[in-house]
Symmetry: C2
Subunit: 231 residues, 2 copies
């Protein structure tokens, strides 16, 4: 528990806010860049809107569904390893005791303390398996509900994030007018989200704000130049 | 070291192959879906190519540059925490000794072994700081070179991955012809990459292949239906 307290110092935000920021920051970047790229070649904003919405649909599904399935796979992997460890402490208790001892030695526990610690740990089977999972395999039990909610939040936030750079193309008829407004509101949004992200992940907010805006700006600039060059 | 050996069981591939698979699987999905979406509304493949290339540029920069900057931030965070721990074991040695003891107790080390273990750990300052970083804060030293190479590999693989679904649009003049070929070659590629990914991440390859193809198919289907619906 002690360890968690410390980790919490670095992720002070409720996890849902972190997921919203992750999804929105990504949703702001790629649809923004795509719309900017297309603005250089098509003057009609309708097509930019169609392409932008198609991208948002694709990106949010890839991010949301992809994250959900990856989390499910992680969980199955964890349960399979758990099963294996449970079997091994019954079938190969001496090997597993030696593995506990090796982990303890790798932590610089003095040799005279190792065997009594191994005894204490291996007395209780649940505790023993728990020890092997965490410290030998480095696996923590994934929370299935949290994974699902997190993927959903990230996917939805991608949609909301993508709506910001795309909205000017819904209002203006000419794409270069829309592009100008889109650049301004998206860079401001990227700054804000980068700042919030930095605040919640323990890095300096101002630096995170600049970096997030830089990534979005670079992506949009590259897309714009490439699209102009090939058409 | 022991722990790493075990982890390697689950990531047997050279890291570069894993990065290639990650980048390509993502690069296959979103540009594929975007091109499919646009095929439902524009008959001319030229515009699909422009939009697809703009997306690939944006996506690869967001993924590559984003990953690189995130890795740099992780490293700075690690170094800042390292500095703090080094200061604390000198300024507050009793507190830090107690923190070591708490970590050991949380591992079910019997009380009589705790104080001799704490003595052994805190005798060597480097080892002590190392112990606090790993087990109190749960931080491993990030490798800066690896992070840069990994981001570059993922970004480039995104470009190569995106080239697969987009290539039929370069060959065919009518977008629905191109779409058909694109769907076939991309689904095959997603299966292959999902299979390879599963092989290298410890999950069942066949299942991973189906999941990867499902994500791509769902994203493309949603983008196509949405684009048709709004135009």
């Amino acid at each position: 528990m002690h360890r968690n307290e410390h980790v919490e110092k670095h992720f002070e935000a409720p996890e849902i806010i972190r997921d919203i920021v992750i999804g929105m920051a990504d949703g702001l970047t790629v649809p923004f860049a795509l719309a900017a790229g297309l603005s250089g070649t098509v003057s009609n904003t309708h097509l930019v809107v169609v392409a932008g919405l198609a991208e948002i649909a694709a990106g949010s599904i890839a991010m949301g569904l992809g994250g959900y399935l990856a989390a499910r796979t992680d969980r199955e992997h964890y349960l399979a390893e758990l099963e294996r460890e449970r079997r091994e402490i019954i079938e190969l208790p001496e090997c597993e005791r030696e593995e506990v001892a090796e982990v303890l030695r790798s932590w610089s526990i003095p040799e005279e303390a190792v065997s009594s610690a191994v005894d204490a740990i291996s007395r209780d089977h649940e505790r023993w398996v728990d020890f092997m999972m965490k410290h030998e395999l480095g696996l923590e039990e994934p929370n299935p509900k949290r994974a699902r909610n997190s993927s959903l939040t990230i996917g939805l936030s991608y949609i909301f994030g993508g709506a910001i750079p795309l909205s000017p193309y819904l209002i203006f008829a000419h794409s270069l007018d829309a592009l100008l407004i889109s650049v301004v509101i998206t860079l401001i949004s990227l700054f804000v989200f980068g700042w919030v992200k930095g605040k919640f992940t323990g890095s300096r907010p101002v630096k995170s704000a600049w970096q997030t805006a830089l990534i979005g700006g670079a992506a949009a600039g590259a897309a714009y130049l490439l699209a102009r060059w090939i058409s």
